[in-house]
């Protein structure tokens, strides 16, 4: 029968070769991820104990200590940044997707993409000029402001996408039973898009938690507990940056442990956002 081809002809061999090639490239692409995760785990796990989570960083040469202040500082600044950027970001995305003229929307989307492409160190320098120079002090406020600018485009873009996925028919249905535009958006469209919006917000938070550059210029660092939002505030990312490069073994170990905590934080938020996405409506 002429339909029974041989598996050894040129086409089949080429097909198999390409499949194998693509498969091995995937493995190559996964190597950095696995390498980073396992290296951080190996280096950081030795200091993963209660002291790490409860004690302040030690002075040079002293043994022990922890990174508790940096964990608190990161949580404070990321939390504050979320309080600023989530309402603004979700609000703008709702305007963008539901209320704005398509031409206006196109420009705002473009602007959002540009903001998303601005390197984080530039945002840091900007926040330094705008908040630190004017208030004459490094502070958690300035750090949070820098992080919130960083989070904004991610939140706007993902929320915008989430709203666009909601089928047009649902909006018609709501308008068809006599809902006003704002009722349709707030009571039908946004709830339908909520799981996807939450995913976007968590991803933005995870990204902000790991950012170093904007914080070096704005929140700086301290060895002590953050006791005021208008004073220099420690963070995990800056702690890693500071401690990894000093010649003291104890500090280096703490830097690795802090890296591990940071990776775990980001990983957890990503997994949580995945969970939210699984319940998505559309």
């Amino acid at each position: 029968m002429y339909l029974t081809g041989k598996s050894s002809d040129a086409r089949s061999i080429f097909n198999k070769a390409m499949t194998v090639l693509a498969g091995s490239l995937v493995v190559v692409a996964l190597i950095p991820l696995l390498a980073v995760l396992s290296y951080v785990l190996i280096k950081g796990v030795s200091r993963l104990n209660l002291d790490l989570l409860t004690k302040l960083p030690p002075p040079p040469m002293a043994p022990g200590g922890g990174i508790a202040n940096a964990i608190v500082g990161t949580l404070i600044m990321v939390g504050l940044a979320s309080l600023i950027s989530v309402p603004i970001g979700v609000g703008s995305a709702i305007f963008l997707s539901e209320f704005s003229h398509p031409k206006t929307a196109q420009w705002i989307r473009f602007a959002t993409n540009v903001l998303n492409g601005v390197p984080s160190i530039i945002l840091g320098v900007f926040a330094y000029a705008a908040f630190v120079v004017t208030t004459k002090t490094f502070s958690a406020y300035a750090g949070a402001a820098a992080l919130s600018i960083l989070m904004l485009p991610t939140i706007i873009r993902t929320t915008d996408e989430a709203l666009k996925i909601v089928p047009q028919e649902i909006r018609w249905a709501a308008l068809g039973v006599g809902a006003a535009k704002y009722q349709t958006v707030l009571q039908i469209v946004v709830p339908a898009a909520l799981p996807t919006i939450i995913t976007g917000v968590t991803l933005a938070i995870a990204r902000a938690a790991g950012e170093t550059a904007p914080l070096i210029f704005t929140a700086l660092f301290t060895q002590f507990w953050p006791n005021s939002l208008s004073q220099p505030t420690p963070s995990l990312a800056v702690l890693v940056f500071n401690f990894a490069t000093v010649p003291f073994k104890n500090q280096q170990e703490l830097a690795w442990a802090a890296s591990l905590i940071l990776v775990l934080l980001v990983l957890t938020t990503s997994i949580v956002s995945r969970f939210a996405l699984r319940r998505k409506t559309y």
Partner: protein
Amino acid sequence: MTHYSPQMGTQTQNKVEDTALEAVKLHIHYGSFLAVKDVSLKIARNQITSFIGPSGCGKSTLLRCFNRLNDLIESFHIKGQVYHDNQDLYSRHVDPVLVRRRIGMVFQKPNPFPKSIYDNVAYGPRINGFKGNLDELVEQSLRQAALWDEVKDKLKQSGTALSGGQQQRLCIARTIAVQPEVILMDEPCAALDPISTLKVEELMNELKQQYTIVIVTHNMQQASRVSDKTAFFNVEATDKGKVGYLVEYDDTVNIFTNPRETYTRDYIAGRFG
């Protein structure tokens, strides 16, 4: 145009015709593009009127003019008038939101809200400030939509988890719950299997006691089964694109047995479309 033949079995055949909706010399434009030209017709109260015709003849577009759903399209505008109970629906003082509360709509693709079955039905009354017993209204609406027995034990489940036919009946219940005067149906059975289609058709026959129904359908058998009157639309190519127009509007019986226009006869006979 509107003489009744004796074989029509509707209760209105001996009454003076009462008009629920009326289009007068209606032209529908999208930007500079003319989509539907010069339609004048009267939709009788408590009857089922069907719009049939080939794709692109503007029957759905016309349907959406009756509850101002086309307003959502930026470039849409009309010439001519559309009346509901002698009120010009496109007068400057008319609020489209209020129009849609009185003229409900059921869509081609079942589109329940991603909410519970109960909330799907209760949403309209809630936003319209319904003051009575909401549980009762939900039950009554679901009963009218012939869905109550299938869902009474799972009102808290999501409306989107129902089958296609059930979803469409849920959408009908949702429309009824607002207690409109007119229900517009845009190919309500296009996405349903024959059994579900039959249920929806039986339902329409029940509903016309209380409501005026206008249905757009591609299914000519459906039009002949359910409707009292039928409007046949056709589309003609002009140098500016395709324009839909009303060919013939008469009692369904006449359209299907003794049409006046050759186009109608050919379409009914399946010679085009």
